[in-house]
Amino acid sequence: MTADNLPPVEAESTEPMIVCRDVHKWFGQLHVLRGINLEVQPREVVVIFGASGSGKSTFIRTINRLEEHQRGEIVVDGIELTDDIRNIAAIRSEIGMVFQSFNLFPHLTVMQNVMLAPMRVRKWSRDQAEHVGMELLTRVGIPEQAHKHPAQLSGGQQQRVAIARALAMQPKIMLFDEPTSALDPEMISEVLDVMRELAESGMTMLCVTHEMGFARAVANRMVFFDNGEIVEEGPPSQIFEAPQHQRTKQFLAQILH
C-alpha cells in the first residue's frame, strides 16, 4: 500500500471540514431531518448509526446534495451548499461517495469506471487517469481485475472498485452509505480493511454503518441517529461502555446481541 496518491490534507488547518447547522428536511409532509448540528474536523472518522428510517442515510446524502435540505446551513470545506449549481459542482468534486448497492457503471470496465470522472470532470489526460487508476486499484487490492466488467466481479470486489472510483477524484472527504450492507458475510472484511487503511491514511470520513467492530477500532466519534435527530454522540469507548441515552442503550443491545 503506497501513500503516494493521497489527497491533500491540510493537517494544520483548524477549520472544520463539514459544518451542519440546524439542518431540516421534509419528504412531502414527513419531517425526516429535525435540526441536525454536526461538525467534522479534517482527518476525523465519524460513524453514524441508528435504526433504519432514522434519517442517517438521508443526512449524509444532503452533504453532497443528492438530497436537498430545506432549512439550515451546510458548509463543506468553506463552501456553503446553496442552489447555485457551481457550488454544488465544486462541493461534489471534493466529496467521494460509496453506496450500499455499489452503483458501478455496468457498461464500462473496472478501469473505465475509475478513469471516467477524472478525465471528464478534472480533464486529466488518458495516461494520467490510467496511471492513477491502476495505483488505486492496486491500493484496494484488485489490479488484476482492471479490464473486467463489474458484473464479472464479486460483491466485495465491486465495492472496492467503487471506493477506488471515488478516490480517483482525489476527494477531501469520503461518504460511506452502508457500504457493507449488501455484501455476503465473507466479503465484508475485505471492504472494511480498505476503509480502515483509508482512515489511517488521514482521510476525512463519514460512515453510515452497523459494523460495530469497525466503529470501535477506527472511529474517532460515533453519532446515534433516532427519528431524524442526533440523540447522542461521543467517542466509541463512551458509546459502547457508557451510553447516556435510553434509546442508544436499547439500539446497541439489539444489534450487539
Binding site: N64, A89, A166
Partner: protein, 397 residues
C-alpha cells in the same frame, strides 16, 4: 466414492434419439410432424415448380436497371458504383479498426451485395452488375484487412464518415458542372431511392428521437411539454397523412419561391414520423436505468449532459436495440408508401412496369421479386441487430 466420467447412454444421443425426442415423442406429435412435413413438401413443390417452370422472369431481368436505379441516366450510373465502392471501403476499414459493432456493418454490407448478386444471375445485365457487386464485396474485405493490419487513425476515419454524407449527395445528385452534372431527384428511383429514403430516415430519425426522449424526461417544463406534444401528435397520425402534408401542404404554407425538393420532402416526412417512435422506444430504455446510476454519476461530479452522454444513454440505447431495429425494418418497408406522392421506389417501379402492355400477366413475378429484395434487406438488418446485441452485451449481465 468413484467420480469417473461416464458417457451418456446411447439412447439419449445421436440423430435417432433427436428425431424421437423432438418429432415423434407421442402419437399426437408424430401426426403433427407428418402433416406439417407433407404441407411443407407440397408448398415447396408447387412454389418451386412455379419459380423454375412457369414463371416468366424476363419481366424482371429485362427491367433490372429500372428496378435498381429507376430512370437514373445510364451514362451517369458509374457514379452510383463509385458511391457503393466508397461505402464499402469505409465500412470495411471501420470494421477492421473498431471491430465488433462496425464489423457487423461491414459483414452485412458485403453479405447484402453478395445476395443481390445472386438475385441478378439470370439478367442480361447480370455479368456487369454481378461483377460490380462482387468487386464491392471484395473491396469491403480488402479494406477490412487494411484496417486490421495498419494503425489507421480514428479521428480522420470519423471525419471521413461525416464527409461521406455530402460526398454521397454530390455523387448521386451531382454538383451541376464538370464530371458530375445534376441528376434531378425526380429520376431517382427503384432500389436506389428505397435505400436513400431508408438510410437518410434512419440516420436522422435516430438522433432526433433520442433528443425527443431526453426532452420528454427533462426537468425543464418547456422541453417536456414540446417533446410530449410532438410525440403524441405524430403518433396520432398515419404516415400517409404526414407524407401528403409534407408533399401538398408544405408548399402551400411556404412562400412561393421556396421550392423544397420532392424527395427531400418525403425524407422529411419519414424522418419526423419515425423520430416519434424512436423517442418512445428510447424512453422505455431510459426508464429502466436505476436511479443509483444517476446518483453515482452526480456524486462523481459529472454534470447532467455528461451523465446522459457517458452513463445513461449507452445503457439505455443498448437495451432498446431490438425495438429500434424492428422500427427501422418497418421504416424500410414504409418507404413503399412514397409511391402515393408520385415517387417511384422499387415497388412503385414494379407497378409502373406492370402497367406496360408487354408485362401483361407477370404480376406475380414482379411482386415476388420485390418481396425477395425486401426480405434480403430486412433479414440482413435483423441479423445485424442480433450481432449488435451480442457485441454490445459484453459484461451486461
Amino acid at each position: 466414492m468413484t467420480a469417473e466420467t461416464l458417457p451418456p447412454p446411447s439412447t439419449s444421443i445421436g440423430p435417432a434419439a433427436w428425431l424421437r425426442r423432438n418429432l415423434f415423442s407421442s402419437i399426437g406429435s408424430s401426426v403433427a410432424t407428418v402433416v406439417i412435413l407433407a404441407l411443407v413438401a407440397y408448398l415447396a413443390v408447387t412454389v418451386g415448380g412455379w419459380a423454375i417452370g412457369e414463371a416468366r422472369w424476363a419481366v424482371v431481368t429485362s427491367n433490372l436497371r429500372l428496378f435498381l436505379i429507376g430512370q437514373y441516366p445510364v451514362e451517369q450510373a458509374w457514379r452510383l458504383w463509385l458511391e457503393l465502392a466508397l461505402l464499402s471501403v469505409l465500412a470495411g476499414v471501420s470494421g477492421g479498426v473498431y471491430g465488433q459493432t462496425t464489423r457487423t456493418l461491414a459483414v452485412s454490407l458485403s453479405a447484402m451485395q453478395l445476395l443481390l448478386a445472386v438475385l441478378m444471375v439470370a439478367s442480361p445485365l447480370g455479368p456487369i452488375i454481378i461483377g460490380g457487386l462482387l468487386a464491392n464485396a471484395l473491396a469491403v474485405w480488402g479494406a477490412y484487412a487494411l484496417g486490421r493490419a495498419f494503425a489507421v487513425p480514428r479521428t480522420p476515419l470519423l471525419i471521413a464518415w461525416v464527409l461521406s454524407i455530402p460526398v454521397s449527395f454530390a455523387l448521386i445528385g451531382g454538383i451541376g458542372f464538370g464530371p458530375l452534372p445534376t441528376v434531378q431527384s425526380s429520376v431517382w428511383g427503384g432500389l436506389l431511392l428505397t435505400m436513400l429514403l431508408a438510410v437518410v430516415g434512419i440516420l436522422l430519425a435516430f438522433p432526433l428521437g433520442v433528443l425527443l426522449a431526453l426532452g420528454r424526461r427533462s426537468s425543464l417544463p418547456a422541453a417536456r411539454v414540446l417533446s410530449t406534444a410532438y410525440i403524441e401528435l405524430v403518433r396520432g397520425v398515419p404516415l400517409i397523412t404526414l407524407l401528403f402534408m409534407a408533399d401538398i401542404m408544405l408548399p402551400l404554407l411556404l412562400p412561393g419561391e421556396w421550392r423544397i425538393d420532392r424527395v427531400a420532402r418525403a425524407m422529411g416526412g419519414i424522418t419526423l414520423f419515425s423520430a416519434a417512435y424512436v423517442a418512445e422506444n428510447v424512453r422505455g430504455g431510459l426508464q429502466a436505468i436505476p436511479s443509483g446510476q444517476y446518483e453515482a454519476a452526480h456524486a462523481l461530479g459529472l454534470n447532467g449532459f455528461q451523465t446522459n452522454l457517458f452513463i445513461v444513454l449507452p445503457q439505455a440505447l443498448r437495451s432498446v436495440i431490438p425495438a429500434n431495429v424492428g422500427l427501422f425494418i418497418s421504416l424500410l418497408k414504409d418507404t413503399t408508401l412514397v409511391t402515393i406522392v408520385g415517387l417511384l421506389e422499387i415497388l412503385g417501379i414494379g407497378r409502373a412496369i406492370l402497367a406496360q402492355p408487354e408485362s401483361l400477366g407477370a404480376n406475380l413475378e414482379v411482386y415476388v421479386f420485390v418481396a425477395g429484395v425486401f426480405f434480403v434487406l430486412c433479414y440482413a438488418m435483423s441479423q445485424a441487430s442480433y450481432r449488435l446485441e451480442r457485441a454490445m452485451g459484453v459484461g451486461s449481465r
